[in-house]
Subunit: 433 residues, 2 copies
Amino acid sequence: MKKIVIIGGGFGGMNLAKNLAGTKGTDVILVDKNNYNYFPPLIYQVASSFIEPSSISYPFRKMFQGKDNVRFYQGSFISIDTKTNEVHTSEGKLSYDYLVFAQGTQPNYFGLSAISEKALPLKNINDALKIRNTILNNMEQACKASDATERKKLMTFVIAGGGPTGVELSGMLSEMNRNIRKKDYPELANDPMHIYLVDAAQTLLGTMSKKSQQETLASLTKLGVKIKLCVAVKDFKDDTVYLSNGEQIVAKTLIWVSGVIANEVKGLPQSAVLKNRRITVNEFNRVTGTDNVFAIGDICFQNTDKAFPNGHPQVAQVAIQQGTLLAKNFKNIVNGKSPKPFRYNDKGSMAIISKYKAVAELPIGFFKGFIAWWLWLVVHILPIAGFKNKIKLVFSWLWNFISNDPTLRLIINPQKHQVLKNMPEVKSIDLEN
Amino acid sequence: MKKIVIIGGGFGGMNLAKNLAGTKGTDVILVDKNNYNYFPPLIYQVASSFIEPSSISYPFRKMFQGKDNVRFYQGSFISIDTKTNEVHTSEGKLSYDYLVFAQGTQPNYFGLSAISEKALPLKNINDALKIRNTILNNMEQACKASDATERKKLMTFVIAGGGPTGVELSGMLSEMNRNIRKKDYPELANDPMHIYLVDAAQTLLGTMSKKSQQETLASLTKLGVKIKLCVAVKDFKDDTVYLSNGEQIVAKTLIWVSGVIANEVKGLPQSAVLKNRRITVNEFNRVTGTDNVFAIGDICFQNTDKAFPNGHPQVAQVAIQQGTLLAKNFKNIVNGKSPKPFRYNDKGSMAIISKYKAVAELPIGFFKGFIAWWLWLVVHILPIAGFKNKIKLVFSWLWNFISNDPTLRLIINPQKHQVLKNMPEVKSIDLEN
């Protein structure tokens, strides 16, 4: 019986565990700090009050109901001891025959401590709810602010990072500014939201084609998003965002979706960890200098794939395919067969720009506008965990797109409340202090 | 133009504001600490991972879209100055021509400080999410606990208070123990949940009929709920619940749904405030010793209603009817007509016991079991704010009742996460510390 411990239940880890479910001779333990898997491509819609966290989240334990060889273990990875074949977690030690790192990345603040403290990242469900609460709180504060400068400060949102998440979020915010502001906040009828999208590169969606980049730039500009390219965010203090070109944007909110760095792994041979913390692996995703430790997805660096000599892009598809192949290879190992090397099959990329508008680059060609938007919808619903979630998503999407006005603008925050739970009539939602 | 300030957007305040919407000559400001109205009768289903907060919550601003004479003001009431006709809130001062208190009640801990600190109340959405997270965290901890005593401690839930909420929550938890524990937590196949329901009275559902009480007692006992009557919870320390009969229950979790006390109001004449903090009002809900201050719902005490010489029960129907009548009376005042005195029209009461089982006492008669359950469903869906929410509720209910296994067991907690957001792989859900 081979004990396989998987650290992280994202695209890579979840697909590995799913494909190992029911495999004789394996005892699989999936370790994650959350008790649910979630769908990162859509968290920006949670942040913009468009869908519910539960529509894109699914409990691991439900996912593996009846799969006797797969167990879930809620905990946080601390370090690995390759000599004793043990991992240390926040909850205790786990021994393994095979270990797989699949815990992905975290926001990269490039050492800018002020930004790491005050900016809002958007990597997971909790980040998304924090951003949702912040946007809604700012609007409430603005309604009460007599000073126009203060109102503008509250209603200015700077998004650092012109990748898909930054593009999609800025599009959503401008839709909110257009469709919801005047209806929900009559006090702010003459105070538009100011949405900035800042990126150090020369284009948005750097990884996509010129066509997509131009289409996106044009659409967002039309929506009123203020786009600043070839400019980096340098600092964020006293409600001011400082840019590399000397410009300053007065804003209460800076959303940081500008680059990621692999989660740190303590206990591996130095030779196996790159400067950007990515773990080097061979063609079978085995970690350099180890026999029984593997890494898949965004956290690993693999340059053995002919078509990708400089490593793969850190995208969902790579993680999914690596997880699926590693499961096959574990079965091969258990059955004494030889493993297969990883080859990435690029299925293309897409980004949603605004209501009914998207860009899609698929093997079958380039799409934009409404068709791309529908493609995006289909591509993003199919992989969502749980049939009920699929129904819920389609329902909320169609409803929201038709009504132009979702009803999820709820400022909910259990933890904060708990601290104050015995004080009557205390604001339970102020996240500023 | 008469400026009417309403403190609190629950059943009473929301109905008052809704009925004043569009009334010429009135300028209405609804003040609430949350930016949404929610439906208290169903928060126990949020606590038990059965429905989503958003299914029973509705943003005030959306509710009053296009109602030009109604504005929402997010803030917490601090005190009133009847001389200057001003209320002080956490966000600043508001002046009024008429003021209405409708901020309801808070949990009553009867001065038991240990309990007010460690027990979990269930009065609002945030409480419900806190309880949901606690239950799920306890189960996760239990899965990892090697010591059987520790497991039992984590899986023992003591509910203090045998009113509808206590009855309904204990029923739900026992359903979870029956239908979900073994499927989701194979580690706990032989560790049942222990659910205690404790009340100082001689019966459950004290305000309902003997029939309902007996039916409920029988059904819950059959479901495995351990019911302790004529016993009060005295203390909660060192993971032990101390009862008035000397008994001790070792448990990590005490849920407190045992009685409420009105939210405190500073600045009113002493003569107007009772020991239990309820505000005395006349037959028009005008506060004793004031000309232009009113109180409706759970926070007020009115004994001018012939049929209720000792005041009305603190239930939704009273608040709704008082809010509706007060709106009419404000219109009368504005139009120089004389106000109408309040008479409560009791529409009966009901409680859900378990899946497909409820008790209902309606003017048309007594119902139990499946019929009562359907009645309960209809009665609780109709008043939910928002058509979309109604659809969502029916969908989740039918889905969950059919599947026996909702998919909302997600431990989500933005605030906690934010504190730790820059530490890789840190558990973002541990609510214990």
